[in-house]
Symmetry: C2
Subunit: 339 residues, 2 copies
DNA sequence: CAGTTCTGCTTGTGCGCGCAACCTCGGCAA
DNA sequence: TTGCCGAGGTTGCGCGCACAAGCAGAACTG
C-alpha cells in the first residue's frame, strides 16, 4: 500500500524479479507481458496479474539494463553546430523531436563545443543514431565511429559538402536573385561578427557569389558587420561610393544591424541601399523599415531530418538526397528596385 | 593490425575480457587499470600492457554496462521550459555545460514539450541529477521521482514559486524602477504573443506591478502585443490617451515590436512613449532608436546552476538560496525623462 | 624458520533485463 | 494406448562491467 512503492525496504530498486515473485510467475513472463513481446502467449488473467503487481510495486525497468540486454537504446542524438540558436533552427529541432517522439525515440540535442572534458555524448548515452544538422567533420566521424555507432546522418561516406545542402545555401541564392531581379548590379555580402558563424557565413557567401556570377551581377565586398563597431557607418558609405546598392545579409540580425546603422547615418533604405535578410524572424516584420527576408520551411526540414533518422534507426534504406529547396523570399520595405 | 579494430571478426564488440585475454591478465585487472581504481596496486609494466592492448584492440567500454554495474551514469539532465530559446538562456546553458563538463559530467539539455510519446528522458538516460531551469511542476516531480531519481534541483520540497526567483523577476523590477526614476507615473506592461511565454510573462508582470505599487506608480494596462496585429497602433494610441508614458516590455523582441509600431504610427519614442526591454540582445543596440534594456548575468547564473547540480551529484550540501540579483539596466535611446 | 604483512594480482558474483530453448499438461485423432 | 500438438508458461544463459574477497608469493619480522 505504500504510496511510494518506489523502493524496497532495503532501498533496493524494484526489479522484474520482484514483480515476478509477487505475481507468482517467472521473470520471463513479466518481461513478455510488460514488453508485449510478439510471439508469446500469455493468458489474459496472468497478464493482468503481472500488470497489477508491477504498478502496485512501482516497478520501473532499468534503462541501463535494458540497453545492455537489448543492445539498443531508442535514443537519437542530434548534434548541433556551435551556433547561436536561431528560431529557425529551434523550430526545425522541435519538429524533428516531435516526429521521432511519436515513433518512440527520445531525442537528445547536443551542442558540440569541441573541447569536451567529459566523454563525448555519443559515448555516454550510446544512441542508436547520431544526426548532425551539418555534416560531421572527419574527426567527429572518427570519434562517433569509435564509439561503435554506425548509423550516422548525413552519410559521412558521401563526404558531403555543406555548400551542397539546399537548406544552407538556397536562401543566399534567393537573396541574390531577388536583388538582381530588382536591378541591383553591385552587391555586398554582410556576415555576422560572431566567430562561431564564420564558417557557415563563408559558405553562404560563396553561394551568393556563385549565384551573382550566374546572374551577371557582382558581389563587390564581403565583410563581417558588428553592431558594436564604430566604423560601421563609414563602411556603409564606402559601399555607396563603390556603387553598391544592394546588401545580402547573412541573417536578419545582420540585416538589422546594417539597416539600423544606415538609418542612423542618414542613408536611405531601400532607396540608397536595399537590404535583404535571412530567416524571416519576427523582428524582420516590426523593424523600421520592415526587412525583406528569406523564409525557410523549418518545419518541413525538421520532419525530413526526423525521417532520415528513423530510416537509419530501423535499418530502412534512406535516400541520400535532400528535399527540394523550400526557401521563399518575403518582400518588405527594405528592398526596392534600383534607381 | 586491422586499422578498424573496432569489431571482432564475429562483429561482436570488444570487451574488457578480450583485452584481458590479449594482455594475459584477468578481467578485473583491466578494469582497475582503465578506471584508475583507487586502492588497487598494479605494476607499471602490467598497466602499460593493458593500456596498449586496449588501444590496439580498440576497446571501448559499454556505457550501458557501466551504468548498470556502477548504478550511476555521470549525466546531468537539464530540463528547459518550452520557451523559444533566447540568447540569454543559451549563454546560461553553455556556461553550465562548460562547468559540468569540466567536472566530468555530460550535460543533456532537453525541452519538455509536455506531450511525450516516448519515455520521458529521465527514464531513458537515468541521469544522476535533473536540473530544471524553472521549478518543476508537481506532475513533473512525480514523474522524475517515479523514475528513481532523487537528486532534483531546484529542490522540489521547497515548493518554490517561480516569482521568488531573482533571475526571473529582478529584471522586471529594474525596468519599473528605471521608468519611475525617470518620472513616469503611468506604465503599461507588454507581453509577448507566444502562448508558451504566457506564464513567465504573467510572473514578470506581477513582479512589475508589485514594484510599481512600492514606488507609487501605476501599471495601467498589461497585454500581449503581436507584431502581426493590425490593431497594435491603436493600442499604442489608447495608451497615450490613458496617460501612459512608459512601457515595460517582456523582452527586447516585444520592446522592438512596440517601438517599431510606434515609429510607424508617428509616435515619438522616447518623448511620447518610453520603452524598456529585457535581455539586452544585440538587437537592442542597433534598433532605431536603440533600446534601453535589462541585462542579465547569464554566465554567472549558468555557473551557479552548474554548481548546484554538482553539489547534488556528489552529495554535498547545497544552499537553497539563489545568488543575489545580478541584473543591470542599460540605458539607451528608447527611454528618457517624462515630460 | 614459523609467522605476519604487503604486493600484485585472480576468481566469483551481482547489476537487471531479453530471449532462446525447453518443459508441462490437456485435448484430440489414430 | 500411443502419439502429436499447441497453449502457457519456465529455466538458463548472456549482455559487459565493477568490485568484494580471496590467494600466491615475496619480503619482512622476531
Amino acid at each position: 500500500m505504500a504510496d511510494r512503492g518506489l523502493k524496497d525496504r532495503n532501498d533496493r530498486r524494484v526489479t522484474a524479479a520482484d514483480v515476478a515473485k509477487s505475481a507468482g510467475v517467472s521473470r520471463a513472463t513479466v518481461g513478455y507481458v510488460l514488453n508485449n513481446t510478439p510471439g508469446t502467449r500469455i493468458s489474459p488473467e496472468t497478464r493482468r496479474r503481472v500488470l497489477d503487481e508491477a504498478t502496485r510495486l512501482g516497478y520501473r525497468p532499468s534503462a541501463a539494463a535494458q540497453a545492455l540486454a537489448r543492445g539498443r537504446s531508442k535514443i537519437v542524438l542530434v548534434v548541433l553546430p556551435d551556433w547561436p540558436l536561431e528560431l529557425t533552427l529551434r523550430t526545425q529541432l522541435d519538429e524533428a523531436a516531435r516526429v521521432l517522439d511519436e515513433a518512440g525515440y527520445a531525442v537528445i540535442v547536443h551542442t558540440d563545443h569541441g573541447s569536451e572534458h567529459a566523454q563525448p555524448l555519443w559515448k555516454l548515452v550510446e544512441p542508436e543514431v547520431v544526426v548532425g544538422l551539418v555534416p560531421f567533420t572527419p574527426a567527429q566521424v572518427r570519434s562517433i565511429r569509435a564509439a561503435g555507432i554506425t548509423r550516422i546522418a548525413p552519410n559521412p561516406d558521401l563526404r558531403l559538402d555543406i555548400g551542397a545542402i539546399p537548406a544552407v545555401v538556397a536562401g543566399a541564392q534567393l537573396q541574390v536573385r531577388h536583388l538582381a531581379s530588382l536591378g541591383h548590379r553591385a552587391l555586398a555580402f554582410a556576415s555576422p561578427a560572431d566567430p562561431r558563424l564564420a564558417d557557415l557565413a563563408a559558405v553562404r557567401r560563396l553561394a551568393a557569389e556563385r549565384e551573382a556570377v550566374a546572374l551577371g551581377v557582382e558581389v563587390r565586398d564581403a565583410r563581417a558587420v558588428d553592431h558594436r563597431d564604430e566604423a560601421l557607418p563609414s563602411v556603409l558609405h564606402a559601399w555607396l561610393s563603390a556603387g553598391i546598392t544592394g546588401v545580402v545579409a547573412f541573417n536578419d540580425d545582420v540585416a538589422g544591424t546594417v539597416v539600423g546603422t544606415a538609418v542612423r547615418a542618414k542613408i536611405l533604405v531601400p532607396q540608397d541601399l536595399a537590404v535583404v535578410g535571412h530567416d524571416n524572424t519576427p523582428m524582420a516584420s516590426y523593424f523600421a523599415p520592415t526587412l525583406s527576408s528569406v523564409g525557410i520551411d523549418s518545419v518541413g526540414f525538421g520532419r525530413w531530418m526526423a525521417q532520415q533518422a528513423l530510416n537509419l534507426a530501423e535499418g530502412r534504406p534512406s535516400t541520400d538526397e535532400f528535399p527540394g529547396p523550400t526557401a521563399f523570399l518575403i518582400e518588405r520595405e527594405s528592398t526596392s528596385p534600383a534607381r
